[in-house]
């Protein structure tokens, strides 16, 4: 059967699929825990009866019982070398059961393994596992394929690619969504539908997990985006355990009653999953046989996906910002990391841009000295589980783009395809195979046209070629091509004409790499902003830019409102409700304060940047260093302590204030020493005891002690008692702070204290840590216990005296 024949059938009638197979086999004696495929081959009557019954009930398509007949699944029964034989025989049995006038779908289902990036198995390995099964099913004589009960989008992509790369038979793809309307690994129905349709699924659906009622909202979502037929195989309601037996709570007739609603939504194929029987299918058939099916929309929508998010572009949609910062050009730090094979800067940039409001992340890792393909694949894998934003694959190499598209678990955007011969011949078919959207760059082998006319010609050529490989206008994004206005004052106008053409004539999306416009001129942000507004007015709906530029994001929000892309101004209001600070901080400024208040406030607010200048000002005004400490810094930090005790401040604020205080104190220190050499810092050793590796608590205590003027000697974590005592003696330290996190390690604190006493040391010990209590501290003979860092400082101050 070819795709045309498949679609012809769907236009004639509601196509009925079969119901559950597993439960039918169990009724006919299949024991729990058996390998179904093997059992069927040993007991062929069971499947023959079952499938004959489904055919008689009215099924137009039955699924070959090859659900678990892939190498990884069969391996658990020691049958991994029989993949070919088992699949061929199972299809032959199905054929024997239903004859040649009922269609047989080769059934591919989860392998039971988890695929990268989410799991540990390589993507290509999974593709090969499915390919092996697909080939055998083709050899067995299936009419089409169904990939069903899928829980992970990446594994589904592997199965779909395996079919597409092996045969032209139609392929239906169905995922399982839970009560939260997501697959087990977090993909929603819209995102799944767009991703799978782009990769070539001929029909999309959902099966298993819930009954027909709960599937309706899911199906509506799929229908809202799908450009292919949609199908459904619900369970017979919800599973219930009764007397150790599993059964489903919805009867055959009730089940079939949902058919009306399915048809109404526009579903073209209906069957049943767990708990359904031939009776259910015959009711379904009865209900739907006189109905003319609705047709489906035959074009894709302009949208990109990641594993868990869809970004839709369109005339009335807000301007989409493509974050430009993952690009090593001109970024030393990023270059260095990429050379070393590290990705932490890439990861940081990804999340920062996401937080700042980018909707898509451009990924460019092209630079000398690295294996671009390998790095690109690494980055794409990393980002697809780190960020929820869809990616824009940006490279001049077709190979790099292909490698990235292959493993990217969503629908990506390609940056870019120009009118150059080699791009059209090589990259365009690759892009089409993976169903990616692409940016059409209006230049070719001959020129970079300076006029809109020249550019439009190239765009038309790219579109014509794209249509030959199956693309439509919604799959393309036109790049207006931004040239610097300082070298050609007409450059901006020509670009705007291209944008207008894309929006009004072609009705495609368009994009600009904004910042080029202002190259070579001062105060570039004004040109960039003005240009963005003009382009938006012409219909621009995407921009490659740095979302950390607040100026730009604010303009975008305003622009969306003014050209009707922000219904009820909602995004605008939300955006500015969140970022009140601009208006607040301007309110604050005019207030004149005297120098003392400034110093006090700087500590209170934790603003260490300015405190030195304020202190110098106070000194210039004649204030004594001691007075600054005693009358300003200390009262301020005490106030902070109070606020912290009342929980009006939390830890980061406490630390910020303490640091401001320390900065001030350090600035004054040389003067204080001059005034009074009597003020000497008390030494304190701190350590996390042997066997314990938790040191953030100890570090915070150390930090606060330092900020309050102690000289802290931090010995680190997992410190043996010998080391602690050695340091106490050598440096003549009066106070030691010990930290331990767990019951298994806190005993060591007692050991240290005992050893110190044995040696006759006079050092005082204070202890703390998550499980440490006052009682425990007393028990081991410590001189004090503190619950947190502020208490620790107070304790140290008492012990000091």
């Amino acid at each position: 059967m070819d795709k045309a024949a498949f679609y012809k059938l769907l236009k004639e009638k509601i196509v009925i699929l079969d119901g559950a197979t597993g439960t039918e086999l169990q009724k006919r004696g299949m024991p729990k825990g058996a390998c179904p495929e093997q059992w069927i081959l040993e007991n062929p009557h069971a499947i023959l009866e079952t499938q004959k019954a489904y055919k008689e009930a009215g099924a137009d398509i039955v699924y070959a019982p090859t659900f678990g007949a892939n190498r990884w699944k069969l391996k658990s029964f020691g049958l991994e070398d029989k993949v070919e034989e088992i699949n061929i025989k199972l299809v032959q049995l199905s054929r024997e059961a239903v004859g040649s006038d009922t269609l047989i779908a080769g059934n591919l289902s989860p392998t039971g393994e988890f695929i990268k990036p989410f799991g540990e198995r390589a993507f290509e390995e999974a593709v090969d596992i499915y390919k092996e099964q697909v080939q055998a099913l083709v050899d067995g004589g299936v009419d089409l394929f169904v990939i069903e009960t899928m829980i992970d989008i990446q594994e589904t992509r592997a199965a779909l690619l395996a079919v597409k790369e092996s045969t032209d038979l139609p392929v239906m793809v169905s995922m399982t969504f839970g009560e939260d309307e997501k697959t087990l690994t977090g993909t929603d129905p819209i995102t799944a539908a767009i991703t799978l349709e782009a990769l070539g699924a001929d029909a999309i659906g959902c099966n298993c997990s819930t009954g027909p009622k709960d599937m309706i909202p899911i199906l509506k979502k799929i229908k809202s985006v799908a450009g292919v037929p949609v199908f459904v195989k619900p369970n017979a309601g919800l599973p219930v355990m009764k007397d150790g037996e599993l059964f489903y709570d919805l009867g055959a007739e009730e089940f079939a009653n949902f058919a009306d609603e399915f048809v109404e939504i526009g579903i073209n194929l209906i069957g049943g999953c767990c708990g359904t029987t031939p009776e259910y299918i015959s009711f379904l058939k009865e209900k739907t046989k006189a109905i003319t099916p609705k047709l489906w929309r035959e074009s894709k929508i302009c949208a990109l996906t990641s594993v868990r998010k869809t970004v839709v572009m369109g005339e009335n949609m807000p301007l989409v910002i493509v974050g430009e910062r993952i690009n090593p050009t001109g970024k030393k730090m990023l270059q260095q990391e990429l050379l070393e094979g590290k990705l932490s800067e890439v990861r940081r940039l990804a999340l920062e841009q996401q937080q700042k409001g980018a909707s898509i992340l451009d990924v460019n890792v092209g630079m000398p000295g690295i294996d671009e393909k390998k790095v690109m694949v690494d980055v794409v894998e990393n980002l697809s589980t780190l960020s929820e934003l869809p990616l824009c694959i940006d490279s001049s190499s077709s190979d790099v783009i292909e490698a990235a598209l292959r493993i990217y678990p969503g629908r990506a955007l390609i940056n870019s395809i120009s009118g150059e011969e080699k791009k059209l011949k090589k990259l365009l078919p690759i892009a089409a195979k993976y169903g990616a959207m692409f940016i059409a760059l209006p230049l070719d082998d001959k020129e970079v046209p300076s006029t809109a006319e020249g550019r439009i010609k190239i765009i038309e050529k790219i579109l014509e070629e794209a249509k030959k490989v199956g693309y439509g206008t919604q799959d393309m994004v036109v790049d207006g091509l931004v040239m610097t206005v300082s070298s050609d004052q007409k450059a901006s106008l020509e670009t705007l004409k291209v944008i207008e053409y894309a929006a009004k004539q072609l009705k495609t999306s368009s994009i600009l790499g904004l910042s080029n416009i202002s190259f070579g001129l001062p105060e570039r942000q004004w040109l960039n902003s003005a240009f963005l507004m003009m382009a938006m007015a012409k219909g621009l709906n995407m921009a490659i830019a740095n979302p950390s530029s607040e100026n730009l994001m604010e303009l975008k929000m305003a622009g969306d409102v003014l050209i009707g892309r922000d219904a009820n101004c909602k995004n605008y209001i939300d955006y500015f409700a969140q970022s009140k600070p601009t208006s607040q901080s301007t309110n604050k400024q005019p207030k004149e304060e005297n120098t003392s208040t400034k110093i006090y406030e700087a500590v209170l607010k934790g603003e260490k940047e300015d405190i030195e200048a304020y202190i110098q000002q106070a000194l210039d005004e004649g204030m004594k260093p001691f007075s600054i400490v005693d009358e300003l810094l200390i009262p301020a930090i005490n106030k902070v302590g109070e606020l912290y005790d009342k929980k009006e401040y939390f830890l980061p604020q406490l630390i910020l204030s303490a640091e401001a205080m320390k900065t001030g104190f350090n600035y004054l220190e040389p003067l204080l020493l001059k005034e009074d050499s009597g003020r000497k810092k008390t030494k304190i050793i701190i350590a996390t005891v042997k066997g314990d590796i938790h040191d953030i608590g100890k570090n915070i205590v150390g930090l606060m002690l330092k900020n309050y003027g102690f000289e802290v000697i931090d010995l680190g974590k997992d410190v043996p008692k010998e080391e602690i005592l050695k340091q106490v003696k050598e440096q003549n330290v009066p106070i030691v702070g010990l930290s331990a996190l767990m019951t298994t390690t806190m005993g060591e604190m007692g050991v240290v204290i005992d050893a110190a006493k044995k040696e006759g040391l006079k050092t005082k010990f204070m202890v703390g840590g998550a499980v440490v209590t006052k009682e425990f501290a007393n028990e081991i003979g410590a001189n004090g216990y503190a619950e947190d860092a502020i208490e620790a400082v107070r304790l140290a101050q008492t012990l000091e005296q």
């Binding site: 599973p239 999340l351 607040q584």
Partner: protein
């Protein structure tokens, strides 16, 4: 569900902002934080998240024996009243583990060295909550997978080191889940490295139907 260990190499976890702040002492009704500070802190949290690599593993094992205050899980005898109570309706358990890797640990150490203490404590809190949420994710994954069999995990989870479940039982997790595969190891004092790692156990019960279903 079968009885092989399942590993998740890379899990997407949305940072639990509220819990991260709460761990740092933030109290919704009391703490006063201006928008500028909040923005700074959120930025640091996201930076912390970029250093986290959430991974997980789980295994379903049968309960093979039980007394008043002990259960035997597979071949391991575990003496704990509270665990025995938790598992009273279960015939099997799920052993789970999560980690977010050591990159964040090094990042925290670096920030401490550079005396960027605010960043260090925010990273630390972010890391703790990400590790915790990762094991919750694993639990959720198992729960959804069990739905088909009309089963569910106990809503409570338990961990060695809590209550009367001794830390020595960490060994069971390491033996059964082969946690070195996720890069986790156990010290002699039963501490896990990387530090931001969690082990947990739940019972597998028959799903009780809710009234409204």
């Amino acid at each position: 569900m079968d009885s092989t260990v399942r590993y998740f190499e890379s899990i997407w976890i949305e940072p639990p902002m509220g819990r991260i702040l709460y761990r740092l002492g933030y109290k919704k009704t009391k703490t006063k934080l201006d928008e500028h500070q909040r923005e700074q802190i959120e930025k640091l949290i996201w930076e912390g998240v970029s250093h986290c690599h959430p991974k997980g593993a789980f295994l379903i094992l049968p309960i093979t024996d039980r007394t008043k205050d002990s259960v035997t899980i597979g071949k391991h005898l575990v003496e704990s009243k509270s665990l025995t109570e938790l598992l009273k309706n279960s015939e099997a358990v799920a052993l789970m583990a999560s980690t977010i890797g050591d990159e964040i640990i090094h990042a925290i150490e670096d920030e401490i060295k550079k005396e960027n203490s605010v960043k260090a404590v925010i990273f630390d809190s972010t890391a703790s909550q990400m590790a915790d949420k990762t094991v919750a994710w694993v639990m959720d994954f198992i729960n959804k997978s069990l739905q088909k069999e009309a089963k569910a995990l106990t809503s409570m989870r338990f961990s060695p080191g809590y209550g009367d479940l001794d830390l020595k039982y960490q060994k069971i997790f390491f033996e059964e889940l082969k946690l070195e595969k996720l890069g986790i190891s156990l010290t002699e004092t039963y501490m896990m490295t990387p530090e931001k790692s969690v082990t947990a156990i739940c019972g597998v019960e028959n799903r009780v139907r809710r009234e409204d279903e």
